[in-house]
Symmetry: C2
Subunit: 205 residues, 2 copies
């Protein structure tokens, strides 16, 4: 089965519509989605940014918030500009990374994005994550404890190193075979590429 690698960061605005849209679009094309949580913070820091580029560069930030409203309206997704941005998605990312193959993974990821970009909740707060896990009928305590483990931390660090090796510099980022696509508006193109990937060998990287 063809698959698409979907790299997302919980603090990334445009990752939210991508996460909400990807399953239906992938299913329509018979493509399997592989969900990869990672952190943009270390990648930005390595290039000298100590904050989101949307905060560092106000014109770009103004545009993004306007565009996010427009994009979410286009896809009939609710959107509420968070009162704080960016929030720290570290704990949520450790969970999503460790439980990458769990059946409930996509439901968890979507609920965290909705907490951040619809309910204006602080996803860095363990109580918010606990509530999300409880709502999914999961063992919140066991999952949150696992996320604090040395191996969970190492797993996310390894994912971030892989992201850097793959040339990922922003989110959402999609990889179809070896073909990279950056930005939520490239989602359909990335999925379509999966269906024709043998005819379009990439020379990227």
């Amino acid at each position: 089965m063809k698959h698409l690698d979907f790299w997302f960061e919980f603090a990334s605005t445009y990752s939210y519509p991508a996460a909400m849209r990807i399953e239906k679009l992938a299913a329509e094309r018979g493509v399997k989605v592989r969900w990869h949580a990672f952190l943009l913070g270390p990648i930005f820091k390595a290039q000298g940014w100590r904050d989101s580029p949307f905060n560092l560069f106000p014109a770009k930030g103004n545009y993004m918030w306007h565009d996010m409203q427009r994009v979410c309206q286009r896809y009939n997704l609710p959107f509420v500009k968070p009162s704080r941005f960016p929030l720290n998605g570290l704990q949520a990312a450790r969970i999503a990374c460790w439980y990458q193959d769990a059946k409930w993974l996509s439901a968890f990821v979507k609920a965290v994005f909705q907490a951040n970009f619809v309910k204006d909740l602080n996803i860095a707060d363990p109580a918010v994550l606990e509530q999300i896990l409880n709502d999914l009928q999961l063992d919140a305590e066991a999952i949150l404890t696992q996320a604090q483990s040395v191996e969970s931390k190492a797993r996310l660090q390894a994912a971030n190193q892989q992201a850097v090796r793959l040339g990922i510099f922003g989110a959402p980022f999609f990889i179809a075979g070896q073909e990279p696509f950056w930005g939520q508006d490239q989602l359909e193109l990335a999925l379509d590429w999966c269906l024709h990937s043998e005819a379009n060998l990439s020379s990227f990287g």
Copy 2:
């Protein structure tokens, strides 16, 4: 008649496919294009960048060059990665800004983009611009002299100040009424917005 403001920079890779595609797409929708040359250099410098972000951030640059090949292939546009990037488009921008309403303006703009991104010519070289103007049967000497005048320099500076006031931070940038669109892949959306702009009043800025 509805119109779309098209802001472009001659050194901007993604401005090239936008410039090549916009006339046909606009004509199909009965939209008039207003061409606005400006310079990204001063805008980047104001936010601390002394070079193109595609050079400053190599992962982003690698992706862009790969994506440019893909984008141009999609639209059947020739593309040759220039041996130097970014080139200085100052003289060309002064011409395009001063002669904004000339009938030959779009032909000149497209020829400069083709010189940069197809023929790998140095668009900072007055001889290259002279050849382009000659090929268009224009009075190259008069136009190049005018571009060096105090008023032509002031006109481009004013255009750049207007770009900053409009919240423009990259290129290509499209404005439909007050609604902003950044990126060549937003061109169709921007043109479609022109047709529905009264029903979609923007609150941007």
